[in-house]
């Protein structure tokens, strides 16, 4: 059994978690054409090495971030998304608070 350390619930069996994809900055909907959306949607980095990615503790629906080595499957650390996203996303304006 492989354990994942959930920032909310502590170490739990990895079977309780759902993988949520790489952490990538979302394009600005106001300034993004179809080609860039295609890139964003379909073309992941698929990195070999340490990557930052989304995970969800399925039972509590808690989303967090993890740094994991995709070659060795070692989880370096897990942390709440507030470390990256300092403020909530503003949906309309150009100055959404996203920082990644």
């Amino acid at each position: 059994m492989k354990l994942l350390n959930c920032p909310l619930n502590g170490p739990r069996n990895i079977a309780e978690f759902t993988y949520g994809g790489e952490l990538r900055p979302m394009p600005d909907p106001a300034a993004t054409d179809a080609q860039q959306w295609a890139e964003h949607l379909f073309f992941p980095d698929n990195g070999a090495g340490i990557v930052t990615e989304w995970w969800c503790h399925t039972a509590t629906a808690y989303w967090f971030l993890a740094q994991r080595n995709t070659l060795t499957d070692e989880v370096i650390r897990t942390f709440p998304p507030s470390e990256v996203f300092k403020q909530g996303r503003k949906l309309a304006g150009k100055d959404g608070g996203e920082k990644s």
């Binding site: 179809a34 980095d45 698929n46 995709t70």
Partner: protein, 414 residues
């Protein structure tokens, strides 16, 4: 006879003629074509280049050994019961070529026409099987929806009890399905290519790809730099890593897929049996082992380490279908890295870099495509134009939002 054997035993040099380029052969400064990845696809392309197009100044490179990647790790299922017109047309052609491959290569690929039975455990699955059967029949592929009685006749060993969590309701019978010896295919292709002048260089890892003015002109390897007119990458699970060297991003996630084989039994199961719902598929190999495969791992990872969880999941699923395997011992288990695309269809054809061709995104369906992929990719290299059969599989389909959705036609519901 005894003297002959003695003479054989005391020879200093291995008496048989080497089938492939001897290891230690020096790399040339330049090749017309460099193929990265000496698996079944790479070796097949090399063979077709030499045989059909007279292109013989070809280097077939592999960072490991011939056929040591996913060619050795797949579960050897040949079938063409896909869901889209493009997919069915492509794999149908592949199965035809497999039928004549032993003769073409003068190498016994141990092809056996077994048929494949895919099981439905829900009404939704029956609906999708009906759809697949219609599409397949329309395109000349033998697929039909079968009831429980026919399933009992096809595979008497199956557990058809209604007292299980997911009883078997119906099946999709695909008479064209087959199996073949995966190693023999890559060995046969590579031997034929080497006989015609292609050079196989094992343990030769590509470390960089030189691109100037949008065209590839050389690759750097751990054994030196090679100038080249054209590059084909056929590296399965490592597709994203190699393409990145040429500055190309691919719509691929690399997931491990795990499989295992049991101890050998007397022949008792003829067709392939798969259950997308239970995430498991199996067939009995010609030496009697049950080879059991399933869905991909739940999250992406490079490397081929297997996990106990997946083995438990495979075992519990297969025991629902074939309870007599409860006493079986698992002899070998492994994982291979699959390069999954968002639409579950491969990527073949031109890339954003001139003279750099892609043979990638094969996920869990690469083995069955080997001969037709080799033929069409070789034609692309020779003419610079992708043949009609593979045009729909171009990388740029993702920019045109023209995906070829085959998610419903996988054997194990990944």
């Amino acid at each position: 006879m005894a003297f002959g054997l003695l003479k054989y035993g005391f020879r200093k040099r291995y008496p048989a003629k080497p089938q492939f380029t001897p290891s230690g052969t020096t790399l040339k400064k330049r090749y017309d074509v460099v193929i990265i990845g000496a698996g079944a696809h790479g070796a097949g392309i090399a063979h077709e280049l030499a045989k059909s197009h007279g292109i013989r100044n070809v280097a077939l490179l592999d960072k490991g050994y011939l056929g040591g990647g996913n060619t050795a790790r797949n579960t050897a299922v040949l079938r063409s019961n896909y869901l889209t017109e493009e997919g069915v047309a492509f794999y149908r052609q592949s199965l035809k070529l497999f039928q004549g491959l032993s003769n073409e290569l003068n190498y016994n690929i141990m092809l056996e026409n077994r048929g494949q039975l895919t099981l439905a455990h829900s009404d939704a699955a029956i609906r999708s099987f009906r759809w697949r059967a219609e599409v397949n029949q329309h395109l000349g592929v033998r697929s039909e929806l079968v009831d429980r009685q026919t399933i009992r006749e096809l595979v008497p060993q199956l557990n058809l009890s209604e007292d299980v969590r997911y009883p078997i309701l119906a099946g999709l019978w695909h008479a064209d399905a087959a199996t073949a010896r995966h190693d023999a295919i890559v060995w046969g292709y590579a031997r034929s290519a080497c006989e015609q002048g292609v050079e196989l260089h094992q343990r030769t890892a590509v470390q960089a790809v030189e691109v100037t003015n949008g065209a590839v002109h050389a690759v750097k390897t751990n054994r030196g730099r090679i100038a080249c007119g054209c590059v084909v990458q056929a590296v399965a699970g490592s597709s994203s890593i190699v393409a990145k060297m040429a500055g190309i991003r691919l719509p691929i996630h690399s997931y491990p897929l795990q499989a295992m084989v049991t101890q050998p039994y007397k022949p008792l199961l003829k067709p392939h049996v798969s259950s997308p719902h239970l995430h498991v598929y199996t067939h009995q190999t010609s030496r009697g082992e049950f080879v059991i495969g399933g869905g991909s791992d739940p999250y992406p990872r490079y490397g081929s380490r297997a996990t106990l969880e997946q083995k438990e999941a495979l075992s519990s699923a297969i025991l629902q279908l074939l309870p007599f395997l409860a006493q079986a011992k698992v002899l070998r288990q492994w994982a291979g890295t699959t390069d999954m695309t968002p639409d579950y269809s491969p990527i073949m054809g031109l890339s954003p870099v001139r003279n750099y061709h892609l043979d990638a995104g094969w996920g869990t369906w690469g083995f069955k495509a080997t001969p037709i992929c080799a033929k069409t990719m070789a034609e692309l290299v020779a003419t610079g134009k992708p043949p009609e059969l593979i045009q729909p599989f171009a990388l740029e389909r993702f920019y045109r939002f023209e995906q070829i959705n085959e998610a419903g036609a996988t054997a194990a519901g990944h």
